[in-house]
Symmetry: C2
């Protein structure tokens, strides 16, 4: 570890098939009124909603409903959530769902006592909260974003065609998260593999970056191998508890600051994917999948040594008789084959993008300069065209 950094992650995790009982330990810590945040209603079909509502009642809570959180939570929905929280003076925001619900809950949590417009302050101007933050708890029903153990929140502004992620400090982390792998059994396979690729790319964004860190990179490789291994089981056997739980646990540690310790991080695939998402409203994991290979092939020469290491450590590429460039390319080919195998390989066109959107998506792409190579606008256009 060459870098200087701090690590502080106070989120308490309850993991396992009985994890929901953790609510009995957590709920008594908070006041009476709970804003129950969820998405399109799948939790009403799979029994999770009823189980949570029963535990809230058992613990004497008054529930304020806040359903209908969309896959890419919008500024309009955020303002609605803030209005609900203010009107009912809620004591706890309980997100029951995937990363979108959790991201949304965190965005509401910092906005309830904030007099300014939250989109402008937190997402456009990227400022930090200065007022009281309403506590957030999370019951996770999808593995992928890692939102359950970090301070990140991604909000989409359709009017401005912007999808922006803000990384808040640990004050905004969920106070607790409930991780029950069986809650992900009923997730459509398309959502499952989107989550899997999101996890994998979170690790890549931290792994492929300007400075190497021995311990962080070794942990990253271990997590990548586990995600790949478990995903191959889950696509054939969606109710395989062990594989579901390995994916869920890897997702949490892929984006809770650990594997980024001491590193500059890239996040350029996320910037491209989020711009694509702002234009198409496509599922996050697929937007990342669509742009990944053209991006990594473009930056590979600038970080060749690391791509060689990736090929050998994660994809078991035999280096015998190959140049470094060939080893690295074989690694990316193996990654692509895996993406095809689990069903995330896709083009931007598959997600609804058209050629005339390319200039706009390029405009909406925030350019990072902490990876192996800072992209020019021309290179962004090139990547988007190759991804189409």
């Amino acid at each position: 570890m060459l870098g200087t950094f701090t690590y502080h992650n106070p989120t308490k995790l309850y993991f396992g098939a009985e994890a929901l009982n953790g609510l009995n330990e957590e709920l008594p810590k908070y006041g009476k009124t709970v804003q129950l945040i969820y998405g399109g209603g799948s939790i009403k079909r799979n029994g999770v909603y009823d189980a949570v509502v029963k535990l809230l009642a058992d613990n004497g809570k008054t529930v304020v409903e806040d359903g209908g959180v969309m896959p890419n939570p919008t500024t309009e929905k955020l303002r609605e959530g803030v209005r609900i929280a203010r009107e009912h003076h809620v004591d706890l925001l309980l997100a029951v769902g995937g990363g979108s619900c959790c991201d949304y809950a965190k965005a509401v949590s910092v906005s309830v006592h904030e007099p300014e417009d939250p989109w402008e302050k937190f997402f456009v101007r990227y400022e930090d909260p200065e007022h009281e933050i309403v506590p957030v708890g999370c019951v996770l029903t999808m593995a992928g974003t890692g939102s359950e153990m970090n301070g990140g929140s991604v909000i989409t502004n359709h009017a401005a065609k912007m999808k922006i992620g803000k990384v808040f400090d640990e004050r905004v982390n969920p106070k607790f998260s409930i991780l029950n792998p069986t809650f992900t059994y009923s997730l459509p396979m398309r959502q499952t593999v989107a989550g899997v690729y999101d996890i994998f790319n979170h690790i890549c964004e931290q792994y492929f970056s300007g400075t190497d860190e021995n311990v962080s990179d070794a942990l990253s490789e271990a997590l990548m191998r586990e995600v790949v291994r478990a995903s191959r089981i889950v696509i054939r056997d969606p109710e395989n508890y062990e594989a579901r739980s390995d994916i869920m646990w890897a997702a949490t540690w892929a984006l809770n600051n650990l594997i980024g310790c001491g590193k500059t991080e890239d996040w350029m695939v996320h910037m491209l994917g989020q711009a694509l998402g702002a234009y198409t409203d496509a599922t996050h994991g697929f937007t990342l999948a669509a742009v990944s290979l053209p991006y990594y092939r473009l930056v590979m020469p600038y970080g060749l040594e690391k791509f060689v290491r990736f090929a050998k450590a994660v994809w078991n590429i035999d280096p015998a008789g190959k140049t470094d460039a060939q080893i690295a390319e074989a690694g990316l080919c193996a990654m692509h084959a895996w993406m095809q195998e689990i069903g995330v390989a896709c083009t931007m066109r598959d997600l609804g993008a058209t050629e005339d959107m390319i200039e706009g998506i390029a405009d909406a792409t925030i350019l990072m300069d902490s990876g192996y190579h800072a992209l020019t606008r021309e290179e962004v256009i090139q990547i988007l065209k190759e991804s189409l």
Copy 2:
């Protein structure tokens, strides 16, 4: 992850060559009086003491001295520390040293407001604290124990010839820990490698256990490989920042609950080592080293598959043409060769034990039943004789 568990680790870490400046962020959170805990005075020679005292003065703190913490902190010293804390109504216990100082600070922290005898309550009866806990901060000067990010504390009672570790919950964790790898440069090499073996064995205790967990075990293997790699650099180049920091960081994550998630854990090597330590007062890491190989060779047949995995994943043993037992044995041989290379391979006799102590050490050994095989007393005697 097959198991059900919770993970909660609220310790804030400041890492790097400038990490001590973290005190300027942390000290204002606590009251005026700080009990400054340290060991035999090496921090006065290497400048760390002066730097800490200056930061305490800059932050307007009144310092109450509590030096002389011995490598294996005793019940007598614990009672002295509690007396100091009570007399001066201290607001923060600041441990500056290695794991012993940190363990001691945590033992004091739970005992200040405890009317009962702390040895009896916490270490013999293994009860949890019910009274106010004085906050602990840590400035680490040795890598090994992981005490900087967990709730563990080991105390030795020489009269009873008992050395007992108590794992407290996260309320007892240090609130913050300062990890500056350069502070470990001046550590004698014998202490450095004792710490390295302590780290390695912490991982083994969690890795070699009754249930496997894919993610935890993969992270464990990554940490073991990093510790072995970095230790080989440090023994030749004690001021190699990168290797020192890799060891320091791996030490923290080797024993902060992460890699034990979902697992039953063994800790039998620690039980044997602690009994040996109670009789000889030898350095902790060496007591573990002395008993490890006879113990692992004895339990290997009961967990053969895992020892095979260990041999291949950590020691790169080529399985071609070998039986599982041969692969596993080759792994332990490679581990032994590494222990010899870094200078931790030793016998109990090297540490001052004699044959007439064996019965007593066996009596002082707490028997665990969560590894691959629950030892009988006869097997404990056998291991101790083979370790002599």
